[in-house]
Amino acid sequence: MLYIHLTACISPQSSFPEASLDHLQRSADNKLRVIEPLYEGLPQQALRRMAKVVRIGAGAALPLIRQAGASCLPIDGIIIGTGNAGMEQSIQFVQQIVDHAEGILSPGDFVQSTPNIVGSQISALTKNKKYNITHVHGGLAFENALLDAAMQVMEHPTHTYLLGGVDEIGTYNYNIDFLEGWYKKEALSNHQLYERGTPGSLVGEGAAMFLVNQQEQGALAGIRGVATLHADDPAPVAERLGWFLDNHLAEGEQIELFLSGENGDSRLSPFYEACEEILAAELPIARFKHMSGEYPTASAFALWLASIWPGGADLPGHMLKRGALPLPGGETSEPGIKMGRNVLIYNTYKGMQHSFMLLSRSFH
């Protein structure tokens, strides 16, 4: 099991440095843009040259690395998942090539155009010369990063890794997905995201960072499993979910909350419905895309939410889709049934890439 010890998230909500999620921050112009902090911990000169995706990635990661350093916990590697880091700089460079007809060009955009820019900048800023890798497989970029971290701690049981998922809304990369039909054509605010029944979602962005290792003591939460699948039909997805739960839950063990990646896109609803159908009818369901918006590594935002959730009714009301959560202290334990302290996250990106994550938020 991979344990989360520290986490930080820069998102369109009031999530950084402390989370205050009861009040929903509204989208503007069909976009959920991150609330950028002042980045007091980043060198100001470096900050000016950074693309937004690097600012938010490093901005969320550096406080964790410092906090770990303060408790003498070395970071043994940096593992980043991102769908579109570097894309905006790539497009800026394309613009230069066109504008100057392949003449004298400034290399800055080109150097920042590779997706490993976030992980490599964090490494340079913290002089971390250890394992360093960037997973870019679209909507499964973060899940592959998580699997990678899990394999690293299996090989090196005493190691601690920085694991993160980060993406930005680019002026231009938004246009590519918009033309492909992934965002709503009509004006819509995020508090109505699930009501329209039309194709497309609202675009979002964010950076969620985690310090993970194999030590149970003092952990916020443990990740019990992650599974991924490519499929364009809901049936194999639901079937794989059944397999995933059989493999990771003990006999009689229950899930406490289903955190669903529903994003208001009518074409993707059948995937979420197919998963809901194989889960217990009374299982509470919560949603998060009205907070984060849709982007390739939005599942990292969901994992952040699940790992900071203390359990019970302490969940922002705007997240709950179905069911009721018990009030703190109101939990009862029936004989023979282990209390479910598990959160199941299911997310699909573009109805082609699917992932399940099972997080246990308490294991004492």
Binding site: I78, G83, N84, G86, M87, S90, I91, F93, V94, Q96, I97, V98, A101, E102, I104, L105, S106, P107, F110, V111, Q112, S113, T114, P115, N116, I117, G119, S120, Q121, S123, A124, N128, K129, K130, Y131, N132, I133, T134, H135, V136, H137, G138, A141, N144, L147, D148, M151, M154, Y172, N173, N175, I176, D177, F178, L179, E180, T228, L229, H230, A231
Partner: protein
């Protein structure tokens, strides 16, 4: 943990469309880097490139891929993957099994289509057929759908070390029991994007590149693809076994976005970690397929890192003198060349070398020789300081 074995290979580069063709050209010391006249860039005919001498239309016909939205990068990847899969004799049920993984890498992907991309980002049309081709995962997604892969699928991008890390990740999936077999590799095609990018950094050589030579003037860009099939030892019984992937090391130089630190901490640590991962001593490495791009910075720093780790480095050379720097494909192509070194017990000449770098005085191998080889190291270093070394051993 199970041993990870190479049971299939497919590759295409400017010196050949199969591993055998590539080997023949390497033995003969052929250089595929020429002054191309077909690339859609003002540098065509001006700068030399390692272009694959097969047209995009020919690749489409050969692969029977006539649908819209297929890029040259995707075609090169499909071509090499087809060869690798058939070489390893993977059948349809193995390909569709949950324990077959696919890990690919590409730095350019659909960015090879500059004009279409330019129109799409400015919404100048209702969208070209290539909207799904620009993202970083597009090649992996294309291969996943072509083979109906249901297991773990991933795409890695650590710039020029991307496909070395794709191989590393595939090997880890097998070692940890998350896959029984993995199709791993990388691809890149020549594009106006990378040509102008490297040109803006003033590291494109106006002549054929000369890795490790005192008078080197930079790198040449090339294109190609290589994919390997990795299987766990228990499953490889009765199969053709090319080599074992014995170990890997990954480290970051943590210095500068586009150049390596003077002492080469990243390269040194990656090679050192690979040795420790493979449980080998420095004197057990018989040959290094060096990153050796031909730039001022890389070749001197890589030499220093080899001297620092090995004291007296083993035989080494850079096949970039034959095919140029194929970016996202280079780690995989050079892994395939390392496997050829081992299977045929031979090393190939680094081309265009005359004088060693005065500060390090290291000389690459300059002729084809048959020698006993047990362990071969392959280095790949990328922008952002991402350094990876792989070690292949004789099966």
């Amino acid at each position: 943990m199970s041993k990870v074995l190479v049971t299939g290979m497919g590759m295409i580069s400017s010196i050949g469309a199969t591993p055998e063709e590539n080997r023949g050209a390497l033995i003969r010391g052929e250089c595929g880097i020429t002054r191309s006249s077909t690339l859609p860039t003002r540098y065509a005919g001006v700068l030399p490139f390692g272009e694959v001498k097969v047209s995009t239309d020919h690749l489409k016909a050969r692969l029977n891929m006539h649908g819209p939205g297929i890029t040259r990068t995707a075609l090169l990847a499909l071509y090499a993957t087809n060869e690798a899969v058939s070489d390893a004799r993977l059948n349809a049920s193995q390909l569709a099994s949950f324990d077959t993984a696919l890990v690919s890498a590409s730095t350019v992907g659909g960015m090879c289509l500059m004009d279409e991309l330019y129109q799409d980002i400015h919404r100048q049309s209702h969208g070209s057929p290539f909207l799904a081709a620009y993202n970083a995962a597009s090649i992996g997604t294309c291969l996943q759908s072509a083979y109906g892969i249901k297991g773990i699928v991933n795409t890695i991008n650590t710039a020029c070390s991307s496909s070395a890390n794709a191989i590393l990740y595939g090997a880890k999936l097998i070692r940890h029991g998350l896959a029984r077999r993995a199709i791993v590799g990388g691809v890149d095609s020549l594009s106006k994007f990378t040509i102008n990018g490297f040109n803006s950094l003033h590291i494109l050589s106006p002549e054929t590149c000369r890795p490790f030579d005192a008078g080197r003037k930079g790198l040449n860009l090339g294109e190609g693809a290589a994919f390997l099939v990795l299987e766990k030892e228990e499953d490889a019984e009765g199969k053709k076994i090319y080599a074992e992937l014995a170990g890997y090391g990954n480290a970051n130089d943590a210095y500068h976005p586009s150049s390596l630190s003077g002492e080469g901490d990243g390269p040194y640590l990656a090679m050192k970690e690979a040795l420790s991962n493979a449980e080998l001593r420095i004197d057990q490495i018989d040959f290094i397929n060096a990153h050796g791009t031909g730039t001022e910075n890389n070749d001197e720093v890589e030499s220093r890192a080899m001297l620092r780790l090995f004291g007296s480095p083993p035989l080494f050379a850079s096949t970039k003198s034959n095919i140029g720097h194929t970016l996202g494909a280079s780690g995989a192509i050079e892994a395939a060349y390392s496997v050829l070194n081992l299977t045929h017990q031979e090393v190939y000449a680094g081309l265009h070398f005359t004088r060693p770098i005065p500060q390090t005085m290291l000389r690459p191998v300059t002729e084809h020789k048959k020698i006993p080889l047990r362990h071969v190291m392959s280095n790949s270093f990328g922008f952002g300081g991402n350094c990876t070394s792989l070690i292949f051993s004789k099966a």
